[in-house]
Amino acid sequence: MCFAEAHPGEDTSSGVLALKKEEMYYIGVDIGSTSAKTAVLDENKNILDLFVQPTGWSSVDTAEAIGKKLRDKGFPPEEGRTVSTGYGRVAVPFSDKTVTEITCHAKGASAIFGTDELMVIDIGGQDTKVILIENGFVKDFVMNDKCSAGTGRFLEVMAGTLALRPDELCTLAASGGNTSISSLCTVFAESEVISLIGKGEKKENIAFGVVDSIVRKVAVQATRMLSPEKSVVLTGGLCECDYICDALGKELKTEVKTDPRARYAGAIGAAILAM
């Protein structure tokens, strides 16, 4: 596994240079509820390209935009092999196969973190998954997909109420404390946040309460699968926020690792499954 030279970003064009003309490449497209992630790997699982874009209101349009971007970057999907995943997986016209995000996340996380024994916590836009991986295969999983509590969407709504970007809210939360949001429902939690604002509560304390609510909700799900011999990793859109990792680690009483490429875990896994 050679992941060291890869740099995730909005637009990486180095991939084109790295690829010799006759070499095969594999594409993973992960169309999530909030953002669509794409990974291109060569046959040695080296990352040739990673890019992300908002899913927008139409998975079909997003998939087409991804197809165009891939062609522009010199990876026409017609000449590679593509696996699509995520809730918009069926909307990708150039996909050779669809695989669920559970299986893809497991494959991708194993590759990124270089181990076949781990527990993946994925905080997505509209759901939260906890996946137990044994020998590189999914052994068990739980999903919260009926309620926005503990998801990225919850954080987004609260950030909006506080006039912050989600990443700003996470950073600010680190310096706050002593506030709790008790409602699990996003709509009611928003009212709670508004009344805290009304009471003049400090922004960092409210941010702390918001993140704490997510962490506690996710931890309840994760605790059921926790085992001492498995490392715990965080994937999904919130993995770039150190504070969430730290707070999750504290709640689970174990280290929670992450990686800048972890938000691409589903796409990377899909590309590996295309091989």
């Binding site: 809730y87 995000e101 295969f137 999914v138 999983f141 999903m143 997909d145």
Partner: protein, 423 residues
């Protein structure tokens, strides 16, 4: 189903609302059932019954009532059909399995009541199901708190007799259930005007045993490596068994089983090789609730067995046919019905044993533990079910759902992921 308008009118049904239900059912049935390939020919009978679901059997029941017979509507596999049949009465199931009836139930019940109870109450109060109109008496049972209280509400609209179910399986609980059956016989005699005699009861025991044997034959065919029938079709047979005449039910099931046995000999399967075999366990799937079977069977897996009231709990274990006194027969009935393992009992370790046994008998790759939303007893018991299966090395997926389609896509993802996990 237009020929039955007069009948529905006479039953005091809300025709306009009922029409809306009649319009959606054929499409749903077409999408879920008729789209399947290579179905057994024997399923033609059940397809026909569904096409006339609110017509043909209700018309039979009304005809029987004209000849003096009484119809008893039931909601639970613990209510002994034998006693009703012995008094020349007719039993029909009444459980509601459609979201269509749920809002009607929510008018009088708390929102956090299970959809089965809400649908059943809604079907009665909104007057949109002929079976709920035809039944001369509803027979309830104290299996769960939601049902107990719902029967009180229904009793304001229709005669209801509630059987007091034991919640444990000690010797005194068996005595209590035998006593409840005897009391029920008295109620049935009162309504029908017919005496329950040992001869009549013995005949009835044989009729219902034959139906159980026939249903079991179809289930046994699902143990074959090459599946001769889809889970969906087997479920339909099971759901309609609650409504049909028991003798005809046995005849049709036996015919279907003959065809399935031949298919097994010929190596005919309705699924490609390597299809993952799933055992469903949990709360019942009342007609027309085909949601999970449809999702599973369009996600690369097949349902091979249901450890449910609409499944093995309905036909496993026979009643002893050798008793010659009512006392002995009531005891024999008690012994059979108390072998059922419902989550309303504490403890209920027998169900865990059943699930593990069935998982082996039907050679399943994984188990899906399904819980109707707000059914707290099955939900809580899921803890033991899932732990026992994991200990036995059998993969298990827990699912909570209701009658709406709002979670269909999420369920599809989970179930597809589970099937991928099975390898």
């Amino acid at each position: 189903m237009s020929d039955y308008v007069k009948m529905w009118e006479d039953l005091g049904m809300d025709l306009e609302t009922h029409d809306a239900l009649c319009q959606v059912l054929p499409t749903a049935f077409g999408d879920v059932y008729l789209s399947q390939e290579n179905r057994p020919e024997g399923m033609g009978f059940w397809d026909f019954v569904v096409s006339e679901i609110h017509g043909i059997r209700p018309a039979e029941l009304i005809e029987a009532q004209k000849n003096g017979q009484k119809v008893f509507g039931t909601f639970c596999v613990y209510v002994p059909d034998e006693v009703v049949i012995a008094a020349n009465g007719i039993v029909t199931g009444l459980c509601g399995g459609s979201q269509f009836w749920v809002p009607g139930g929510e008018k009088v019940l708390p929102k956090n009541t299970c959809p089965l109870i809400k649908a059943s109450v809604g079907a009665r109060l909104d007057r949109t199901c002929p079976f709920f109109r035809i039944a001369d008496m509803y027979v309830g049972e104290t299996t769960c708190d939601g049902k107990k209280k719902a029967y009180e509400i229904l009793a304001e609209d229709v005669p209801v007799h509630v059987m007091d179910m034991p919640q444990m399986k000690r010797a005194e609980d068996y005595d209590k259930w035998a006593h409840e059956i005897e009391k029920f016989a008295g109620v049935v005699e009162g309504l029908t005007g017919n005496k329950v005699t040992p001869e009549k009861l013995n005949e009835a025991i044989k009729i219902v045993n034959n139906k159980r044997k026939a249903l079991k034959r179809v289930y046994d065919a699902r143990k074959a490596d090459k599946l001769p029938i889809s889970g969906k079709d087997a479920l339909l047979m099971m759901q309609i068994a609650f409504f049909d005449d028991p003798v005809r039910c046995a005849e049709m099931c036996n015919k279907l089983a003959d065809e399935l046995d031949q298919r097994i000999k010929d190596g005919v399967s309705v699924f490609p090789e390597g299809t993952k075999r799933i055992l469903l366990t949990g709360t019942p799937l009342a007609i027309p609730n085909w949601k999970l079977h449809h999702i599973i069977e369009t996600s690369g897996a097949a349902v091979v067995c249901e450890e449910m009231c609409t499944g093995t709990r309905y036909f496993e274990n026979l009643v002893d046919e050798t008793q010659t006194t009512l006392e002995g027969q009531y005891k024999a009935l008690t012994d059979r019905y108390m072998k059922n393992n419902c989550a309303c009992f504490t403890p209920n370790t027998g169900r865990i044993d059943d699930i593990i046994r069935l998982a082996k008998e039907y050679k399943v790759d994984g188990v899906i533990d399904v819980n109707l939303k707000f059914c707290s007893i099955y939900d809580t018991e899921g803890f033991f079910v899932e732990r026992a299966l994991k200990e036995a090395g059998i993969p298990v997926l827990g699912i909570e759902t209701d009658y709406t389609d709002s979670d269909a896509e999420q369920l599809k993802t989970r179930i597809e992921a589970f099937v991928e996990m099975l390898g």
